[in-house]
């Protein structure tokens, strides 16, 4: 894998001062990004529009992540999964701004793919990067970053959503590791993931201090996935229930430390919220991409509807919402 990213490049990426080139109104973001980030955004935009956008309608209608084209591998080839991962595992060692840019442009092409991408690259990969031991990173990261494996994360349960610390999924200590029993709900990428970060209670009585994070592999005896959810939105971002029935997990699969899972979870959530927030920004931008040409072209009462004041007001509101959200 490439190994040419010294700190020099990170400094260059951080230094602002792009050329004052004019950008089209629909994507004016030059105040936020430096040259490199602008170029990256443009590049991911083209990639997403050419490779992901054509499948968006079919994904939504069928509720299936596309099978005829391996989007995970394509995105991996484009270095999109390991943006925040260290170079030694195939990542680019960059900051969360780049991750947000990628998240926005992928969501702009397809919201479902964006959500799955976010779960894979941030919820799973980034958590392993931040909390994994060198052995764990070596074992799981390379394939996840290349796109050969898909990652997921599971914390919520049927009865533990906002109050996630009240989770009931149990991890009993046994010889050599733990045995997990319980269910997890709404796990994005659950049906297809090879590697999953799962939170369970090693000590039911200890409340938040009894949670431990585990790395689960597809195929572990006792671990299975149940029905794929038929969702109203983000269709095609495969989501399902996870079932653990006496699933044995060896010691070396504990992510972080026993009982310290809540730190892994809560600190991860901060970054997850940041990166996934770029998803709706991409969706808003996609709306503008469709609306702006349409109001110039659609005519009623003898004029393009974009000439009517109320429509203009709506567009101004849309643009303001998008830009302030950025």
């Amino acid at each position: 894998m490439q190994r040419w990213l010294p700190a020099l490049l990170r400094r260059a990426a951080g230094a602002g001062g792009g050329s004052p080139a004019r950008r089209s109104l629909a994507s004016c973001s030059s105040l936020l990004f430096d040259d490199t980030q602008e170029q990256f955004k443009e590049s991911v935009h083209r990639f997403a529009q050419e490779h992901i956008a054509p499948h968006a309608a079919a994904i939504d209608a069928s509720n299936y992540f596309p099978k005829e084209v391996n989007l995970w591998k394509l995105m991996g080839d484009f270095n999109l999964h390991g943006l925040t991962s260290p170079e030694e595992y195939g990542g680019l060692g960059l900051g969360y701004m780049y991750h947000c840019i990628a998240m926005e442009e992928i969501s702009r092409a397809s919201g479902s793919v964006g959500l799955s991408y976010g779960a894979h690259s941030n919820l799973c990969i980034n958590q392993l990067v931040r909390n994994g031991s060198p052995a764990q990173k070596e074992k799981y990261l390379p394939k996840l970053i290349s796109g050969e494996h898909v990652g997921a994360l599971a914390m919520s349960e049927p009865n533990s959503g906002s109050d996630v610390v009240s989770m009931k999924c149990k991890a009993e200590k046994v010889d050599g590791g733990y045995v997990i029993n319980g269910n997890k709900m709404w796990c994005t990428n659950g049906p297809s993931a090879q590697t999953l970060v799962v939170y369970a209670k090693t000590d039911i009585t200890a409340g938040s201090k009894g949670i431990t994070a585990f790395i689960i592999e597809k195929g572990m005896p006792g671990f299975s996935t149940a029905q794929k959810l038929d969702k109203l939105g983000m269709r095609g971002s495969d989501t399902c229930e996870l079932v653990f029935e006496n699933c044995f997990v060896p010691h070396e699969n504990v992510l972080g430390e026993e009982g310290k899972g809540v730190y892994v979870m809560m600190s991860g959530l901060d970054l997850e919220r940041l990166v996934l927030a770029a998803g709706p920004i991409g969706l808003m931008q996609a709306c503008l991409d469709v609306v702006l040409p349409y109001v110039r072209q659609r005519e009623q009462f003898g004029r393009p509807i974009g000439e009517f004041q109320f429509v203009q007001g709506k567009m101004a509101d849309m643009y303001t919402s998008l830009q302030s959200s950025r």
């Binding site: 040259d35 490199t36 943006l83």
Partner: protein
């Protein structure tokens, strides 16, 4: 062997342009600008030749204002080794004509001594399709235009070019150095991946002016007026051959 590639910054192909209200030029003030699609194909072909071992260095060049540096950076991010930026601020009333660009590129070719000079067959803003041909003429080099396939023979120092012409595909063999202009089906340009974008930041862009190259770029042509093409009128469906004959005779007056 060195390959020189000329690229042009144009209005993005997806933008719907309009004429300025004063009818002096097309309104590009807020339009998205990108590398001319044929120029992207030219850069891609140069990179493939270098990767196949036929060339050692790919140099990108452009003529344009400061903002054209973006286009060069795209070429560098795709993989070009270095770039030359000939600075020129455009004047819409006296635009830079292909002959002036060809003279500038000729000066660069004499400086750089490439084995191949690859250009896009035409720019999508003016659709001239002249620069490559004029460059070859000025340099007295052979030319292979509208290339849909290029094979370079290092030992024999020749390039076999398949050209898309009106009658079909013509295959010619050129002695190097030569000028090639690219057509749409030559290749599929690569994306600039993030590692390459970052690598490009440390690549060199040399800045020169036409005066430093001893090229006179004064334009003999002045743009007087720019208008949008007349809106296509709707067709008329006729009910009989007699009606057709009547219209051809009395309205269109072609019979």
């Amino acid at each position: 062997m060195k390959i020189l590639v000329a690229v042009k910054r144009v209005v993005d192909y997806a933008v719907k342009v309009r004429v300025k209200p004063d009818r002096t030029a097309v309104d590009t003030a807020s339009a998205k600008m990108s590398m001319n699609p044929f120029c992207e194909i030219a850069v891609e072909e140069a990179l493939r030749l270098r990767e196949a071992g036929a060339a050692a260095e790919v140099v990108a060049a452009t003529v344009g204002p400061a903002a054209s540096a973006d286009t060069l950076r795209t070429a560098l991010a795709m993989g070009a080794d270095r770039a030359v930026h000939v600075l020129h601020d455009p004047d819409p009333a006296r635009p830079l004509l292909p002959l002036a660009v060809a003279k500038i590129l000729r000066a660069l070719a004499i400086q750089e001594n490439p084995g191949l000079f690859i250009l896009g067959k035409q720019a999508i803003d003016d659709d001239c399709n002249q620069t490559g041909q004029m460059l070859a003429g000025l340099l007295n080099w052979p030319q292979g235009t509208f290339a849909s396939k290029v094979i370079v023979d290092k030992e024999k120092q020749t390039a076999t070019v398949e050209r898309e012409v009106d009658g079909g595909i013509e295959t010619i063999c050129l002695d190097l150095p030569a000028v090639i202009t690219t057509d749409l089906r030559l290749n599929q340009p690569r994306y600039a991946t993030l590692p390459n974008i970052m690598k490009a930041k440390s690549k060199v862009i040399k800045k020169v002016t036409p005066a430093e190259l001893n090229v006179d770029i004064r334009s003999d042509m002045e743009v007087v007026q720019v208008d949008e093409p007349p809106k296509r009128k709707a067709g008329v469906i006729l009910s009989s051959v007699d009606e057709l004959l009547d219209k051809l005779k009395n309205e269109a007056r072609v019979l």
